[in-house]
Symmetry: C2
Subunit: 145 residues, 2 copies
DNA sequence: TGGATATGTCAATATAACTTACCTATTATG
DNA sequence: CATAATAGGTAAGTTATATTGACATATCCA
């Protein structure tokens, strides 16, 4: 990054505004479907993570979501009632609970994901692979900053 | 985008997870300072927008934030009580109210922005200008999708 | 003059998070 | 083996941010 023209305050402000819009819209798109199952974005995030990290533990979920266990517990209870997740005790350390999506859960995840995917997918379709790779790279750098 | 390898579901899921993390962290960094002034992220967003779009109208704010006027009004009242914003009637159409940050507001914005900036700034410093340009391009495409 | 626009406000409700506090069960360690 | 640390659960109350619905006022435009 030699060309510091890219780092003017106004440009950073614009980027922050865009990050807000992208996040909001990405997590607003699925809301009609979430409503259908009487769940919200908090549940969606858990379903998303459990879909990506099958068998993730409760404490790993807490670290990724950065919420309190009381908050997570409410969401997990709802998902159990909705019959979309199940738990399996760790065979070695039985304190640890692993979370999985069952078939219904996987189906609902895909249904949600379809609506959420469109926005990202269409944007990436219109992008060069360089653009996509760079997009991902910068996201990673922001996260690890 | 010819190389469809970049568009596997797992990659899209990872991107969505990263968008969530980047948004959350970007708007978590300033919270210590927001606490100091007894305001929250909702107030921060308004201050941010008014800083970028000086003299923005109420209805323009509503369009950008995509919240109800009841919600916005609560936030604006708090900001008036904190004495960081003021209003000016449009000279032609007196129904329209323009919002401005006063000196205290500008100072507080900068204080908040400093903490928020670090994360983005450091990431961009470590990036090539191509990466930064592409990052911005893809964000725009996601927004306009 | 009547309809649309810009804004304000009251009341009730929902969602998702928080703090504080305390609990059990299990594993790891001195 | 005793004790600390870890993984997880739970209860009560609170806060932040948003919603819906209804209604009010002032101003502009055709």
């Amino acid at each position: 990054m030699k060309d510091l023209l890219y780092l003017k305050d106004q440009q950073l402000k614009d980027l922050i505004e865009k990050l807000f819009i992208v996040y909001r819209d990405t997590f607003t798109d699925p809301k009609k479907i979430l409503n259908k199952y009487s769940i919200g974005t908090a549940h969606h995030k858990v379903i998303h993570l459990v879909s990506t990290y099958e068998g993730i533990s409760i404490s790993e979920l807490l670290k990724k979501l950065k919420i309190t266990k009381q908050s997570l517990n409410r969401v997990l209870k709802d998902l159990v009632k909705l019959e979309v997740i199940n738990f399996k005790k760790d065979e070695i350390d039985t304190r640890i609970k692993h979370v999985y999506l069952n078939e219904k859960g996987k189906k609902i995840f895909l249904e949600i994901f379809e609506t959420q995917k469109k926005r990202i997918y269409n944007a990436l379709l219109e992008s060069s692979s360089d653009e996509v790779v760079n997009f991902d790279k910068v996201l990673k750098k922001i996260i690890n900053g």
